[in-house]
Symmetry: C2
Subunit: 321 residues, 2 copies
């Protein structure tokens, strides 16, 4: 799924933020010639120097306005809590006809925080590539990150169709399957599939962290499958996830409430020795796994360790609709 | 770590139960010549026929007494809820000097349910190999399952040292690192590292299962990293896990209570927008991950799909003490 067009999709793409997602996109764009030029704005001089050293942007600045002036696509790749401040920098800074997009894990708040700042004639196509690892920073990116995964776009009704199509084409060129939906629907689904699981993983690893020292050492030493998986999830970027929970509060609290009720019911079943209730639930949950395996949602298989990454060669089929 | 002794470790090993763990051990014993003969007792005629068809036992019975009469090692590999009934079958059925061991995920209940049934002169060495996948049944086993993982033995104080050493040697020949500890200590550690994570995973997947149909379909379609990992854990054998929770009730309820408190605190922080509290926890949890990565606890990396399995070639070093 490489870009085979004779023309690049964009002249200049400007990234705001060069972490895991931004630097992976930049690497993919460079590798496949999807844009003529990449610029970026980052927060620190150290990151700016590192980005240039890695060669993943042609120009790098610590100032947003400098980075975005020539861009026909501005890709906001920062924690969603930074959007309000970023949006304010975009006012009056963009070419007419420029497209602003983003990669945030929450979509209603992105629209709330960025859209009001954009000038007439600038298009806005919020998006969320469902891809990632627990690593962060410009060194953690790699061009295959998005391969065979879903990207959800949540354009505001009435947005310019050509702009939506261009953003869609870019993600497809990065290897993704793209689907459009309303921002609130996105936030509800991701609250269940991603935000709640991360919250739970952070909590359980936190509970273990608070154990007395000797016991904690043994928990680390003998960490079994379940816990080990949770620690990987709970090693994700703290700033990004703080912002996700603060900005998808309603959806997260709703599903968290359901989860708490269900957990209480299980706790009671254990206390009273109600094996039939446990067995019934443990059998039902196998079904949803089968659904996921059938839907072919196993594209990338990232190793838990360091920088090692593997792509799963087994499931290159398109996921079920 | 193949057995290089000129003599097999045992003449006859009898398995009670031939699921993932039993059939993996049997395959390893066969492959490396760790015993002269393997017998087994399984519950159904279909499983008995399948075990013989797979060639992983020399003799297979639906009757425990028939399977164990000649054994110098009896390995109980059944869900821990079956131990009381299995123990009763062992009375008067074993050779003098025979060793009984097991692979159950809870150790106090195993001692409670099996030890009283064993005749004078029969040795008892309860054990728990910390290895597994979400698959079950005799077809799911493979000889590399135990490679580079921990096995915990919980012999009763005063047990015959030679018997403990023989069981230890078998697990080491299967590729494991072996450590001894008290059964109650084992149950507390595993309650944290394995039982609670499984309970949480079952709960969250159950919460998703109860969603209205259209939303559930989208949750399956767009299942992201966190949720996908949970569904794999929640696809584990329902009988085995029901028995674990019923038999490690106190330790599970204790750590579950701590978890609930911690989750309530996070829920409150989200509701009141206390970003600093979220950030503080999310940063602390990265530390424990580092501890686990440093401890080298990443030996096997089982793919999430079907029968596909990969071993992680990266971390063959011995885990930190």
């Amino acid at each position: 799924m490489t870009n085979t067009a004779s023309q690049p999709l964009f002249e200049t793409v400007a990234f705001i933020g060069m972490g895991l997602i931004g630097s992976s996109m930049a690497r993919r764009i460079k590798r496949d010639g999807l844009a003529d030029k990449i610029t970026c704005a980052v927060r620190s001089e150290a990151t700016r120097d590192r980005v240039l050293e890695l060669g993943i942007a042609d120009e790098a600045y610590c100032d947003i306005k400098q980075a975005v002036g020539d861009a026909d696509l501005v890709m906001v790749c920062a924690p969603v809590g930074a959007n309000e401040a970023i949006g304010a920098q975009l006012t009056g800074a963009l070419k007419k006809g420029a497209i602003v997009s983003d990669v945030g894990s929450v979509k209603q708040s992105v629209i709330r925080d960025i859209a009001p700042h954009l000038d007439e004639g600038v298009h806005f196509v919020p998006g969320h590539p469902l891809a990632g690892t627990e690593h962060s920073g410009p060194d953690s990116g790699f061009p295959e990150l998005f391969e065979e995964r879903w990207c959800i776009l949540t354009p505001i009704p009435g947005e310019n169709e050509a702009a939506i199509a261009k953003v869609k084409a870019l993600w497809e060129a990065c290897g993704m399957y793209v689907e459009c939906m309303d921002a609130d629907h996105h936030d509800r689904i991701l609250g269940i599939t991603s935000h709640l699981p991360h919250l739970i993983a952070y909590t359980i690893v936190g509970t273990a962290t608070d154990l007395e020292d000797a016991l904690r050492q043994e928990v680390i030493k003998f960490s079994a499958t379940g816990f080990r998986d949770f620690t990987r999830i709970a090693a994700s970027d703290p700033t990004m996830w703080r912002d996700v929970f603060l900005n998808n509060r309603e959806a997260v609290l709703d599903v968290l409430g359901r989860f708490q009720e269900d957990l209480m019911a299980l706790q009671r079943a254990i206390r009273w020795g109600e094996g039939d209730k446990l067995f019934e639930l443990f059998s039902r949950t196998r079904e949803i796994r089968r659904g996921i395996v059938d839907a072919g949602q196993y594209f990338a298989n990232f190793s838990a360790e360091g920088e090692d990454r593997k792509s799963d060669e087994k499931s290159k089929k398109k996921p079920a609709e």
